[in-house]
């Protein structure tokens, strides 16, 4: 493999400092469906008056990068893998805001589902077992990280390539086609509810899998007007994170139940699982963790090396975090 | 061709499909019992239009009946009823026919996807079907055309293949709907001969639709004229009349039949 070019052709230095005001008539296309709901529920959407914000119901790696290529999107909301893959495929992108979970290890996005009767009690037991693996997805990267943590190489387990769409993983687990597979969100709860009686369990991996980013194509960020507008959006985004944190009832009602059609129970489960949010004002630690992920992927998937720092647009470093913090203080007052 | 109406000259070959129910009215020429074909009070209609309005007809085993009648009078409808092909046509009446019925359709009806030979052997189970079919094809003048597709044949050739298809069978009842319509005079005479040979050999009951009065006289024991959905006239043809072409009786019968068909004065 390894034909994609590494590194970002646009260097951080080539970006002009962010303008304080957004030129009239600036439009940004935003793929950030859940924050959109938060902005509307909280009324924070008014902060964005004067900017033409067009929301698209697009999120996740493949879809946002496709939309970036088509110039159909200016900013998207993803986890930590898509910016890496986007760079590897020659799309120059930058992260402009990041959110994490406090006590992330105990509030993971994913847990390792264990098939009934496969006798896996700890990560090391994975040796020789069949593990579901989806190379392009966050779950795939997580599996590699889990193996690394357990001190196992890819060859020590049997990786079964399987897309994680829908309930494919829980189907594969329950029919014992695989012994372990990462399950996320409500799927964990459902899997246990259905198959715990048969001996199904889940295993915490003890890794941080919490990053959530806003990212944009460098081409967009090089446009001063759009960059200024995106700075405003990042600020509102930080405030919205705080609002969600502070208004679990409204969030449950307005997002999970009304917008996503979940039951109150499921929504509450997700809110509880997420724990407290953390939007840092400094990215240093996060970049370090990101670099580890990159190193692992580059090694395991035979990809060129990247510098994690190149994936971040440092002009935005403090914006979301500051907004989050300030809003929190304001809310407390 | 010596059988007379209701006569029981030849092999008793009346089939087992349905016994004729003798509940007929009218002056049908014979009772149903012992007949190869027995039709009583046959009514058929398409929509509101009555096509057959009460047809009674009996054909003895081995008897050759010609059916004449104006275009659209219901000849084919009657034949289709006898062949049991009118499942979906409204009507009533009692029909009794033998088991093995063979039909020559008004259109030659060759399977377009099968060769000429395949069309002739269609449905034959005998092991010598092929050689018999080849022989029949040779008899109708189509030796060497066994492998042709039907669409490569002329109209008359197609008709002869259809004829060959019925010649290789040994039906108890042969229903033939204008089987010679597209043939020239000479070929037609040859085909008459073939049909007569078949009849002589296996003595099937025959119902032949034709528009050619001369043909009817030459071939049939009895000529039935259909009109307004009923049997309008029945004329018996004695052997003397049918063979002696120039005889006065022949000419008279010819004239009468044409009159039955509405042609007044001598036509060409």
């Amino acid at each position: 493999g390894g034909t994609a070019t590494a590194g970002n052709p646009t260097s951080q230095a080539s970006f002009t400092p962010l303008a304080a005001s957004v030129p009239a008539g600036t439009t940004i296309k935003v793929g950030d469906p859940s924050i959109r709901v938060a902005l509307e529920l909280s009324g924070l959407i008014k902060d964005l008056d004067g900017i033409n914000v067009e929301f698209a119901n697009i999120s996740g790696g493949p879809q946002t990068t496709e939309a970036f290529r088509a110039n159909a999107l200016d900013v998207g909301s993803v986890a930590d893998i898509p910016p890496i893959h986007a760079t590897w495929t020659g799309l120059d992108v930058r992260i402009i805001a990041s959110a994490y979970r406090q006590d992330a290890v105990n509030h993971p996005l994913y847990e390792l589902g264990i098939a009934p009767g496969s006798g896996i009690a700890k990560l090391e037991d994975l040796r020789g077992k069949k593990v579901a693996y989806s190379p392009g997805q966050a779950q795939g990267a997580l599996v590699l990280r889990i193996l690394e943590k357990a001190g196992l190489a890819q060859d020590d387990v049997k990786l079964i390539e399987l897309p994680s769409t829908g309930d494919a993983y829980s189907s594969a687990l329950s029919s014992k086609q695989v012994d372990a597979a990462p399950l996320g969100g409500v799927q964990i709860k459902r899997y246990l509810a259905k198959y715990q009686a048969d001996g199904a369990t889940t295993l915490r991996h003890g890794l941080r899998d919490d990053p959530g980013h806003l990212y944009s194509p460098a081409k967009v960020l090089a446009d001063p007007a759009k960059a200024a507008a995106l700075a405003k959006y990042a600020e509102a985004w930080g405030k919205a994170q705080r609002w969600i944190e502070d208004h679990p009832k409204e969030w449950l009602e307005g997002y999970y139940i009304k917008d996503q059609g979940l039951s109150a129970e499921d929504g509450q489960y997700l809110i509880d699982a997420a724990g407290k949010r953390d939007v840092p004002t400094s990215w240093t630690e996060a970049i370090e963790r990101h670099q580890q992920t990159i190193d692992l992927l580059a090694r395991e998937q035979k990809k060129p090396q990247l510098k994690a720092a190149d994936l971040y647009d440092t002009r935005f470093e403090a914006i979301a975090g500051t907004a989050f913090t300030v809003a929190g203080k304001g809310g407390a007052a | 061709m010596a059988a007379h109406p209701g006569g029981l000259t030849a092999v008793a070959s009346s089939g087992t499909v349905r016994s004729a129910v003798g509940s007929s009215s009218g002056t049908a020429p014979a009772t149903g019992a012992g007949n190869a074909v027995s039709v009583r009070n046959l009514i058929r209609s398409f929509g509101p239009k009555g096509v057959l309005n009460g047809v009674d007809l009996d054909i003895a085993p081995g008897e050759f009946v010609a059916l004449l009648g104006p275009s659209g009078c219901g000849k084919s409808t009657l034949l289709r009823a006898l062949a049991g092909l009118d499942h979906d046509v409204r009507g009533s009446g009692v029909i009794s026919v033998p088991e093995r019925v063979s039909v020559v359709f008004q259109d030659s009806r060759l399977l377009p996807w099968d060769s000429v030979l395949g069309n002739v052997t269609l449905g034959l189970r005998e092991h010598d079907a092929d050689s018999r079919a080849r022989k029949a094809l040779a008899e109708v003048g189509l030796a060497g055309r066994e492998k042709s597709w039907p669409h490569e044949l002329s109209g008359g050739e197609q008709q002869r293949v259809a004829l060959a298809r019925s010649l290789v069978r040994e039906p108890q009842l042969l229903l033939a709907d204008e089987p010679f319509g597209a043939l020239d005079a000479l070929t037609r005479i040859k085909m008459h001969g073939l049909l007569q040979d078949l009849v002589a050999a296996h003595r099937p009951a025959v119902l032949l639709v034709t528009h050619d009065v001369d043909e009817a006289i030459a071939l049939a024991d009895r000529i039935v004229v259909l009109d307004s959905g009923r049997v309008a006239t029945v004329r018996t043809v004695t052997p003397e009349i049918s063979t002696a072409v120039d005889a006065a009786g022949h000419e008279a019968l010819r004239r009468d039949l044409l009159a039955d068909l509405g042609v007044v004065g001598t036509s060409h």
């Binding site: 469906p33 | 499909v17 020429p29 009514i43 004695t238 002696a244």
Partner: protein
Amino acid sequence: MSAAPVLERPAVEPHLDPALAAREDVRPTGRRLGPGRRRRLAWLLGPSVLLGLWTVSSATGLLDPRILSEPWTVVATAGELIADGRLQENLAISAQRAGLGLFFGIVVGAVLALLAGLSRVGEALIDGPVQIKRAIPGLALIPLLILWFGIDETMKVLTITLGVFVPIYLQTHAGLRGIDLRYVELAQTVGLSRAAFIRKVVLPGALPGFFLGLRFAVTGAWVSLVVVEQINATSGIGYMMELARTYGQTNIIVLGLAVYGILGLLSDGAVRFLERKALSWQRTLAG
């Protein structure tokens, strides 16, 4: 020279009775090789059996509800979703997308089929690319479509159109190419203009093929929604299912499948109804 011809003239009354059915009717009854008469509502049998099997195996526990929700759960879910209006709304949006895509697909497919069917140049230019198009997996085309047409409604309708036009094209083209040469000869001898030839011979002759294409197309349009409504959609039946899949809401997934099944049956039935009306001239085994 010989005996005078004998005349018998039976004196039967004409008595065609409108109430034919009341009369005795004894016909020679050969084995029927065709499938026999069409029976109304018979088409419900298969789906009913399916539903019955599902219900029974759910009720007896043969079918694990964790694998496939029970029918009553699905009905209850449908009730809920209808009560809060979500099902109808999503269906309406989806129907609009599918309908538009179908419409354009039919037009494009039929026009291309005519062009390719009636001229060798048209065929040389059009047919190959269409075969290539249909050989390329639809999923693989989505990135290109996004690139060219963005992520809005246009792109969604276009994707459906691209899926739908293929069977219409293929079937109409084949139907057209299958027209008996005898009718083409007839058209030539009565001096039909090209337009009249298309109207009087080509279109009616290709109609059976077209209808079959339409049957593929209508279900194709519905099925496309699954893919299309994953991209920048906030409504529609495909979106609803995708959402349910991410949250593992099995009952909604199964409801979605049931809705697809019903939609498929209904649209297929509608096309076949139209087909029977339009092709009433046919005398075929279908009866």
